[in-house]
């Protein structure tokens, strides 16, 4: 009588880790006017004047603020666009 073949028991496990988020940070800038920074934010980040003013005030008060968080590719593009407006932006890994 043939012995039954034993199937090896294989356990699989899928680990899913979310891609790290990146922050687009804008530093305070004593040269560009506040209204100019608001227009730049409205244009680049596609946000309302009220939202743009809120970010601008945060930067003015704190010296810096995160203006956008998300995937790296988009963060790089937004940071470049902000620098095309001559704002002092940089990228930081979130968390």
């Amino acid at each position: 009588m043939a012995k039954p073949k034993l199937k090896p028991e294989i356990k699989t496990e899928t680990l899913v880790s979310a891609a790290p988020k990146w922050n687009v940070v804008v530093l305070n800038d004593p040269i560009n006017y506040q209204a100019y920074v608001v227009v730049a934010f409205m244009s680049v980040l596609r946000i309302s004047a009220a939202e743009a003013k809120k970010l601008m005030r945060a930067i003015h008060a704190e010296g810096r603020a995160t203006v956008w968080t998300g995937d790296r590719e988009r963060a790089e593009m937004l940071s470049l666009e902000l620098q095309q407006w001559h704002l002092n932006s940089l990228l930081e890994k979130d968390g």
Binding site: P30, I31, N32, Y33, Q34, A35, Y36, V38, V39, M42, S43, A49, A52, K53, E76, S79, L80, Q83, Q84, W85, H86, N88, S89, L90, L91
Partner: protein, 154 residues
């Protein structure tokens, strides 16, 4: 959107045009040097520098054409659409940044913000002249924003 207009005296146009001719090449260099280009990816860094360099030369060209085309007294610069107005705003910003870095390097930010305080007889004529231009470029920006997006002001 209706076209946007910036007007200035013929004398102001001449003075600002002369300064632009001097500062434009440096403005391009300053705007690229100031950029926080990511240094962890050579390809991306190259793309950024290329993009910012191309933009800087386009800004210099835009300003030169705009001021050269502003005839009459008052001299009027006409910007036909929002995209041109945005480009003009950015170009003026580049020039102000260049003046700040190259001409007013020894002036504090606080002093520059209250520019009238440093516009005194103790400053060399060239620096007072550049300071007046710095303020004028700022006024042109403010005027343009007030037409383009008045809600941007508090």
């Amino acid at each position: 959107m209706a076209e946007l207009r910036l007007s200035m005296t013929q004398e102001a146009r001449t003075v600002l045009s002369d300064l632009l001719r001097l500062i434009a090449p440096a403005a391009a260099r300053v705007s690229v040097n100031r950029a926080n280009v990511p240094d962890n990816d050579e390809e991306i860094a190259g793309f950024w520098v290329e993009t910012l360099t191309a933009q800087a030369s386009e800004e210099a060209r835009l300003l030169a054409v705009a001021f050269a085309s502003a005839k009459g007294n008052p001299a009027i610069i006409v910007l036909p659409n929002e995209a041109q107005a945005h480009a003009f705003l950015r170009a003026l910003s580049a020039v102000r940044l260049a003046l700040r870095d190259l001409v007013f390097a020894d002036v504090t930010d606080a002093q520059l913000e209250s520019a009238e305080d440093i516009d005194d007889e103790s400053l060399p004529t060239e620096k007072r002249h550049a300071l007046a231009c710095y303020a004028c470029f700022g006024l042109l920006q403010q005027s343009l924003i007030s037409q383009l997006c008045p809600e941007a002001f508090d």
